[in-house]
Symmetry: C2
C-alpha cells in the first residue's frame, strides 16, 4: 500500500506521473481562490500570535512549498492557524515582550524546535502518539480555544487592551477599561463583524438567487473578507480615522520572505521545549484530522509518519524565513479541496501568489484597521466552537463527558497548555481506573447453541457445581488483585461449586503480576476443593503461558472452547456434540 | 463478607468474642519472641533512618497498639522497616542535618503527613491505587533498596562514612577513605556479620540435632541477634574498645515514648509532601502484601481500605510519640505468625514488652557498637534481595522485564523515589502502548462446532465474501485510528469481501472516540460496497450503543453470536442449526 524507497520520502515522485493540462487548470484555479482567502487570514493570525502582519504572509509561503514536496495529502494547506497562533502568543509572551525583536526571534526558535521535534517523531515513527489525544479532548480543547481567541479579539475590536491569560482575567481587565473604548474602532469592528457573518450566512444564497451555480457562489462568498478589508482600509484612509485613534497595520516592508536565523540560546530553547512539544502534537493532530477527512472523500490515504516529517520540515522552513509555527489548517484546506485542487502543485501556485502579494500588495494595507483583522479572526474561530460535544458525550458516557468538561474548563481557566495536559491525563487516568475494576459476568449456555452469555441478561442453562465466569478485561497488574478478591468472594459464598471456569475470550494479555495472582488463586481454590479451569485462551496469551510452569501446576484444564469445558465438566451434552468435538 | 457499621472501623469488636485462655497463651508466647527480635531491629532501623536508637523503640510501641485497634490483619506487626527507614533518611537528609533536633522533628512531620494521607486514602477508599505498583516494580524496587541499604552499612561496619545517595557515589567515597578503616570496628562488624549469617543458616539445624523440635528451634534461632548484641556490647565494655574508635550507641534515655509534636511549618510540609505520598504508598504495598499472604494461610481476609486507616493512624501515633514513619514489616509479621499469634492482642503485649525495654534495658546498651547493628541490618535486607525476578520476567515478557530492570537501575543510580516513579510510569506507558496497537485475528469456524478461532493457528472454515475479524482489545481513543487503518487496509486489498463481521467478544468498552471511528469505518466500507456487522457485543457495551443512532445507521446487523452471523451471511449451516437458533 505505502510507496517504498524514495517515493515514501518524496511523494511528488508518485503523483507527478499523469500530471496534464486538466490537472494544471484545476490546481491553478484552486490556487487563485486560496490565495485571495489566505491574505487576510495570514495577516490576522500573525497579529494573534503577537507578530507583525507580514510574518503571517512569510509563514504561508515557504512552508506550503516544503509541504508540497514532502506531504502525503494532496490538498492540505499548511500555514498559520488560529489555535497554534494563540499557543505561540501564550508561549512567547512568557519569554519576551510583544513587538520586540526578541519576540520575533523567539517565535522563529519555537518554529525551529517544533519542526525538529516533528521530524524526529516522524523518523522514529511516533505518529501513534497523537492517538492519545482523544476526540473528546481535542474537541473540547478546540472549542475552548475558539472562545479564548474570540475573547482576546474584543480588545482590538474596541480599541482596548485585554490583559491576562485566562478568560476571566481578560474579561475583567476589559470591563475595567470600558470608558476608554475608541468609538471609530468599535464602529469599524462591529461593521466588519456584521458584514463577515452575513457573508458566511447570507451571501451564498443571494448569489445563487441572482443566478450563480452553487459552487461558484460558495467560492465567491469565501472571498468576502477581502471585500471587508478593502472597504475598511479605504474608509480609514479617506476619513483619516488613524488620526482619530483607530489602530492600523502601518508600514509593511515590500519583500519576499527574508532569510532569518532562529536563536539557539540554550536557556531560551529549554524554556520553549515543553510548549514546543505541545504545539507540535496539537498541530499534528489538527493537521492529520483534516488531512484524513479530506483524503477519505477521494479514497486516498495519508501516511501519519510521513506527515510528521512534512509538517516538521515546513516548520523548519518557517523558522528560516521569518515565520512562526505552522500546521495544516482546517478552513484553508477545505477551501483548497472544494476549489478542486488535484495535487500539491496547487499549494506551490498558492505560495507563488502569496509571494507576489508580499512583494506588491503590502503598500496597500498600511491603512488596514486592526479591528477588521480582529473581526476576521472572530468569525473564523467561532465556527470552531461546537458545544454540542458536551451534550453528546454526557448522553454516551460520563467518562468522555468528564474529559471534555475538564479540558474546556482548564483551557478557559488556566490556558491552552494546561487544558490539553489536563484532558489527556484525565482520559488516561479514567481509562486506567476503568480497566482496574473490570466487569466480570457469570455466564451460562444459551439453550440449543454452543454460545455462553451473562446469566443476568439472557435465559441460559447453568450447573450448580460449575461456575463459569467471563473476565471482561486483560489481566494486568492494575486489576489482578481486584479480580482475585472478586472470584474468591463469589466462590467462598457458594459451597456447591466444584469447578470454576474462567472464560478468557476477552483476556488479551496476562502479565507477570497476573500470572502470579492466577497461581495464588489456583492454590486458594484448591484449598477449598475447587478446581480452576480456563477456556478460550487466545493464541498469543497461550504461547506465553506455555513458557511457564503454570499449566503443569493448574488444578484443572485449559479448554479450547467454553462449550467443550461445559460438556466435560457437567456431562450434560448430547453424545453427538461430544463426538463432533472429539473429531477435531 | 465485610463487617458493617462500628465493627468495620473497630475490628476488635469482631474478634474479642471467643477470646479465651488458650488464645491468651498463644498471644503471650508470640509477644515474648517478637519483643526479643524487635529490640535490636528497632535500634538498627532508627540508625538507618538517621535517628537516635531510642526512636526505633518508640516507633514500635504506640503504632503497634493503634494497629491492634484499627487493623484487620490478626498477625501484622507494625513498626520501622528497612525500606521506609531508608526513604525517611533520604527525604529528611534533604531538609535537615542528621543528628540535629530539626532532623528528628522533620521525621515526626513526615510520619504525620504520611499518616494523614493514609487515613484520607482509606476514608476515600483509594486502596486500589496500590494496585498500580505492579509486582515486577515492587520486587525490583525492594531488591534494589536491599542492595542500597546493605551498601550504606559498609561505612558503619568499617568505621568509615559513606557519602552520596546513589550506590556508585557511596562506593566511590568508601574506596577513597579506605586507609581510614578502624580495625576494631571492622573486626566487630565482620564477626557479627559472620555470626548472624551462621545463625540464619546453621543454628536451626544444630538445635534440631541436639534434640529440639523444628518450631522451637526456629524460634530460638530468631533470637540470635540478641546474642550478637550482648556479646559485642560486653566486648566493647570489657576491652574499652570505645576508646579505640569503635562507635557505640552511647547514653540512651530511660523513658516511655515521650509526647512529641511534629512541626507544622508550611514550607517544610510542602517539601515533604511528595516523599510522604511515596512513602505512604510503598509502605502500604509492603504491608498489604505481607498481610494478605499471612491472612490467606489461615483463610482470613483483610480489608485494604481499613488497612489504610489503620496504618495511617499508626503513623499519626508515631508522629506524636517520638517515632518516624512505620508500616507492617515482613520479618516481624512472619515471626509473629509462626510464633502462633492468634489475635492483635499479641501486638499489644509486644508493645508492653518494648515499653519495658525502653524503661529498663536502655542503660545496658550504651556500649553497644553500631557495627553490630549495621550487621543485623545487612543480614535482614540481603534476604530481601531476589534477583531471580530478572530471569523470570525476561523469560515471560519483555515488558515486565523492562519494568523490573528500569526500576532496579534507577533505584540504584538515582535513589528510591526516582526508582519507584520510573517503574510505575514505565509499566503504565508500556501497558498503554500495547493496548494502542491491539492484536486483530482473522477467524474462521472450527468444523463441527459453533466456535471461531484464528485462521493462522487452527484449521478452520472460511468464506471469501465474509471476513470475520476478532478485535482483541477494548476500543478506545488510543487505538481506534490504528484499528480503522488496519481494517481498511485488509478490506481494500480484497475485492471478494462483501461483509465484514467484527467479533466483539474481547471488546469491553467502546468510548466516544471509538464510536465515531466505527461510524466513519461503516461509511467508508459502504463506499466500497461492503457491509459492516458486529457480533457477540457484550451487554454493557450494547446498552451504551443503544443510546446512540449508530445502530440505526449501521449498514449491517448486530448478531448475538458469531455463529449466527456466519450462518446468515454464508448460508452454509445445516437447517437444523438454523432452526435451533430461531428457537431462541
Amino acid at each position: 500500500m505505502r510507496p517504498e524507497g524514495l517515493k515514501r520520502w518524496f511523494p511528488p515522485l508518485d503523483w507527478r506521473r499523469g500530471y496534464g493540462s486538466a490537472t494544471l487548470a484545476s490546481d491553478l484555479l484552486a490556487a487563485v481562490i486560496v490565495t485571495i482567502m489566505l491574505i487576510p487570514q495570514s495577516l490576522a493570525y500573525a497579529l494573534l500570535a503577537g507578530l507583525p502582519p507580514e510574518a503571517g504572509l512569510y509563514a504561508s509561503i515557504v512552508p506550503i512549498l516544503i509541504y508540497a514536496v514532502f506531504g502525503t495529502s494532496r490538498v492540505l494547506a499548511v500555514g498559520p492557524v488560529a489555535v497554534v497562533s494563540l499557543m505561540t502568543a501564550a508561549t512567547i509572551g512568557q519569554v519576551a515582550e510583544a513587538g520586540t525583536a526578541g519576540y520575533a526571534v523567539a517565535a522563529l526558535s519555537l518554529a525551529f524546535l517544533s519542526g525538529a521535534m516533528l521530524v524526529l517523531m516522524g523518523v522514529l515513527r511516533l505518529g501513534f502518539l497523537a492517538n492519545f489525544l482523544s476526540h473528546p479532548v481535542t474537541s473540547g480543547f478546540i472549542s475552548a480555544s475558539g472562545l479564548l481567541i474570540a475573547a482576546s479579539q474584543i480588545g482590538p475590536l474596541s480599541g482596548l487592551r485585554a490583559e491576562g491569560h485566562s478568560l476571566v482575567d481578560q474579561l475583567v481587565s476589559l470591563v475595567r477599561q470600558i470608558t476608554g473604548i475608541n468609538l471609530p474602532t468599535l464602529v469599524i469592528g462591529l461593521a466588519s463583524l456584521g458584514f463577515l457573518f452575513w457573508v458566511r450566512r447570507g451571501l451564498k444564497p443571494m448569489l445563487q438567487r441572482v443566478g450563480l451555480a452553487p459552487r461558484p457562489a460558495d467560492m465567491l462568498a469565501k472571498t468576502g473578507p477581502v471585500l471587508a478589508i478593502a472597504a475598511s482600509t479605504l474608509a480609514v484612509w479617506g476619513l483619516s480615522l488613524d488620526q482619530a485613534g483607530v489602530a492600523v497595520v502601518g508600514a509593511v516592508p515590500q519583500s519576499l520572505p527574508p532569510f532569518t536565523l532562529p536563536s539557539f540560546d540554550l536557556t531560551l530553547l529549554r524554556e520553549l521545549l515543553l510548549p514546543a512539544a505541545l504545539i507540535s502534537l496539537i498541530g499534528f493532530v489538527e493537521s492529520i484530522s483534516v488531512g484524513q477527512t479530506l483524503a477519505a472523500k477521494r479514497r486516498q490515504r495519508i501516511d501519519p509518519d510521513q506527515e510528521l516529517v512534512a509538517l516538521g520540515a515546513a516548520n523548519l522552513g518557517a523558522s528560516f524565513t521569518g515565520g512562526f509555527p505552522v500546521t495544516g489548517g482546517f478552513a484553508r484546506s477545505v477551501v483548497n479541496f472544494e476549489a478542486g485542487a488535484a495535487t500539491p502543485a496547487a499549494g506551490a501556485f498558492t505560495a507563488f501568489g502569496l509571494a507576489m502579494a508580499a512583494l506588491f500588495l503590502t503598500p496597500l494595507i498600511a491603512f488596514l484597521p486592526k479591528a477588521t483583522l480582529a473581526a476576521t479572526i472572530v468569525v473564523a474561530v467561532l465556527s470552531l466552537v461546537d458545544l454540542s460535544i458536551l451534550k453528546r458525550s454526557w448522553a454516551y458516557s460520563r467518562a468522555d463527558f468528564a474529559a471534555v468538561a475538564a479540558t474546556m474548563a482548564v483551557t478557559l481557566g488556566a490556558g491552552v497548555e494546561a487544558g490539553v495536559s489536563a484532558g489527556v491525563l484525565l482520559s488516561l487516568a479514567l481509562h486506567l481506573y476503568r480497566t482496574s475494576r473490570p466487569h466480570v459476568a457469570e455466564v451460562g449456555l444459551v439453550p440449543g447453541t454452543e454460545h455462553f452469555r451473562n446469566i443476568n441478561r439472557f435465559s441460559v442453562e447453568t450447573d450448580p457445581a460449575v461456575l463459569s465466569l467471563r473476565i471482561d478485561e486483560s489481566l494486568y497488574f492494575a486489576n489482578t488483585r481486584y479480580l482475585e478478591d472478586l472470584i474468591l468472594a463469589r466462590v467462598s459464598g457458594d459451597t456447591a461449586v466444584r469447578h470454576v471456569i474462567l472464560m478468557c475470550s476477552a483476556v488479551n494479555e496476562i502479565d507477570l503480576s497476573a500470572l502470579e495472582t492466577l497461581e495464588s488463586l489456583d492454590q486458594r481454590l484448591r484449598d477449598m476443593d475447587v478446581s480452576l479451569h480456563l477456556s478460550e485462551v487466545k493464541g498469543p496469551v497461550m504461547d506465553r503461558l506455555r513458557r511457564t510452569k503454570f499449566l503443569d501446576h493448574l488444578s484443572g484444564e485449559v479448554f479450547v472452547s467454553q462449550f467443550e469445558g461445559w460438556c466435560k465438566l457437567t456431562q450434560r451434552c448430547a453424545s453427538a456434540d461430544l463426538r463432533q468435538h472429539a473429531q477435531r
